[in-house]
């Protein structure tokens, strides 16, 4: 389960519209709950370093994540997930998304942006223990 603030939810969807027809990407800050769920209180848009193929690939500069983590620590927040968009493509994780996912226990949020407008947003938790058994599991999103 991913609980996300209305502001963070709206922001990540809007980010996808802003970067259309390219993929947007960003981080979600919040906290890990004792029941295994995540609560995202803020979304932090990031740059997409894949300027060679931004319409179907994204990459976040680790240096940007370090800055976001540092800011989060000062506010008692942690990185609990990431988001990106799929321009004119379903909000469903791809084999590339899974191959490049390494933050176990975090939420990966994908928004389909159709003809410039955000449509469906879905969330997936990266489960497993290592590169051999990792998988995405659908998780409900609760916007509050």
């Amino acid at each position: 389960m991913l609980k996300i603030s209305q502001a963070a939810y709206a922001s990540l969807r809007e980010h996808g519209e802003t970067t259309y027809p390219h993929e947007c990407c960003g981080a979600l800050l919040g906290r890990f709950e004792d029941d295994g769920s995540r609560t995202a209180t803020r979304s932090k848009p990031c740059g997409n370093t894949r300027d060679d193929s931004p319409h179907n690939r994204y990459n976040i500069d680790p240096k940007e994540l370090i800055r976001i983590q540092r800011e989060g620590r000062e506010r008692g927040e942690d990185i609990v997930g990431f988001y990106h968009s799929h321009p004119d493509h379903p909000a469903q994780w791809s084999p590339t998304d899974l191959a490049e996912a390494h933050w176990f226990g975090c939420s990966y949020v994908i928004t389909s942006v159709e003809k410039g407008k955000a449509s469906i947003t879905k969330a997936f938790e990266l489960t497993g223990t290592d590169e051999h058994d990792k998988k995405f599991v659908d998780e409900p999103i609760e916007v509050a």
């Binding site: 894949r50 179907n56 994204y58 976040i60 609990v80 590339t96 191959a99 490049e100 933050w103 226990g105």
Partner: protein, 114 residues
Amino acid sequence: MKKIDPLDHPCESSRDGLASVVDMPKIQIPSPLRQYAGKQASVTVPAKTVGDALAGLVAQHPDLRHHLYTDDGKLRAFVNVYVNDEDMRYLEKEATALNDGDTISIVPSIAGGR
């Protein structure tokens, strides 16, 4: 949590002759790896280089080794290691020297696409 006895680890001394934990490099542990590091978000390790720091980290927390390194001992390609704000790959890699108060960040890659 395993205690670090400064007298067991050679490193620069503070003026009273004992290493200060406050000055030791701090390694920031990303959330997916904290369960293998005693649930700690950061670990201090006496070290003079990045390689020493990572070696000290996995010595303290052996379960981290598999997640950071391949079977032939190389850092996994998706594991980014930064010293403060610099990617160690563009410094001296594992031989990068550390100064008092330096922060090492382990940052798994974030990438993907449809």
